[in-house]
Symmetry: C2
Subunit: 244 residues, 2 copies
């Protein structure tokens, strides 16, 4: 479904922005790039800034009008820094836009359109769009670099996509972070309770103190490995305690 | 509150990334930048990429250790592409991280720490952190450009901030998008209903058709100005209708 989401750049001046856009796209699982009258493309600067995303540049389409870029799309979202007085349905929040795009992208291509670095999109180009979106920003300085704007909107689209149950997206987990079983954790708690007594820390049964320390360790959510280290530490202390 | 949120870059290789970071920060209302052993700073390339955010560069602090950069902070979030096997509390989702940061930033400075372009943060540097965050991305190509990662996390922090009632953040609205009053909209509906009859469109009272068209116009949420244009169009048609 991310494959039906298209990024369209209109008359980009700096080829570096095209390269950085390709990289931003690829990190967020997007690959369909269309360039409308780019000033200079292909270009070494684009290759350089694309880093490991030159495949996105290599499959990018170059066309001569925005119509050509989006005429097969069921939704065309124009990204602009300033609202125009041609009020299309407008998303104040990129996350609302992203949810709408993900829904529509099931059916057919959906495009996010970005204009020129200095002047954005013309009124005629806005007319090719079905929606507008702005990125809420500092009212005193709200103009993001073009490829940064692409990165944010691509990130929001990826976020809307992964929050769907059927996306199958899984978070990275470090290999040794398996939680312990309840039984293993119980052994640790018993060991700790015993040593609290044996060490003289709890001079009398003091449920509150014991509870609080146990709660701390529970909240820390030690992995299996960490629990094993803690047990080892407790045993090292235990070796020095008078046997009770 | 955004003023207590600090961005820390550790041993940045490309001064352009420092400049792009400053710009990304300013667009999201952040201004506190600290550089730990940057390879080259100040630098023309940083100035160039900062665009209108050179003030952020000018007030940036340069220090020689991460400790120095964050020792007054109550929360230090290390941004890394890969989870380390030194498992700090970890945010899978930048929005969870941002909500936590915004809560803590009421009290004292909070830092987001970014490592070297190629190798990220060292284990010693991770030890200076209280939390880790990753940006969920394409598992086949998940390494964002440094300033892009800053842009995304700054964006998420801004988003968490503006969603608070007390932020006072308001969305841009184009000047002529004031909605009409209910009375004005009622006049339009009456006018439309009258002309649906007068034109012969509704040959008999047909509540469903009239309802559907009225619903369309309600859903379009015309601004005061647009309503006025619609009334003008209706009047232009009306001039040609037989008076009933």
């Amino acid at each position: 479904m991310l494959s039906t989401i298209r990024i369209v750049l209109v008359q980009t001046f700096h080829p570096g922005n095209i390269g950085a856009t390709a990289r931003a796209m690829k990190t967020m699982g997007l690959s369909d790039l269309v360039l409308v009258n780019p000033r200079s493309f292909p270009d070494e600067e684009a290759e350089r800034l694309a880093a490991g995303a030159t495949d996105v540049l290599n499959t990018a389409r170059v066309v001569t009008s925005l119509d050509e870029a989006v005429n097969d799309c069921v939704q065309v979202v124009g990204a602009s820094a300033r609202l125009r007085s041609l009020p299309l349905p407008h998303f104040d929040e990129p996350d609302d836009m992203a949810q709408s795009v993900i829904r529509n992208a099931h059916e057919a291509p959906v495009a996010l359109v970005f204009g020129r670095e200095r002047s954005g999109l013309t009124n005629d180009e806005i007319r090719c769009c079905t929606h507008q979106v702005s990125i809420p920003a500092n009212p005193e300085y709200g103009i993001l670099n073009l490829s940064q704007a692409v990165q944010i909107l691509a990130y929001e689209v990826h976020r809307a996509w992964r929050k769907q149950a059927e996306s199958g997206f899984t978070y990275q987990r470090p290999l040794d972070a398996t939680p312990p079983s309840r039984e293993q954790f119980g052994h640790f708690q018993d060991h700790l309770a015993r040593l609290m007594q044996q060490s003289g820390f709890l001079t009398q049964p003091h449920a509150r103190t014991e509870e609080q320390l146990q709660a701390l360790f529970a909240r820390a959510q030690p992995s299996r490995k960490e629990l094993s280290l803690l047990r080892g530490l407790l045993s090292a202390f235990e070796a020095h305690l008078p046997t009770k």
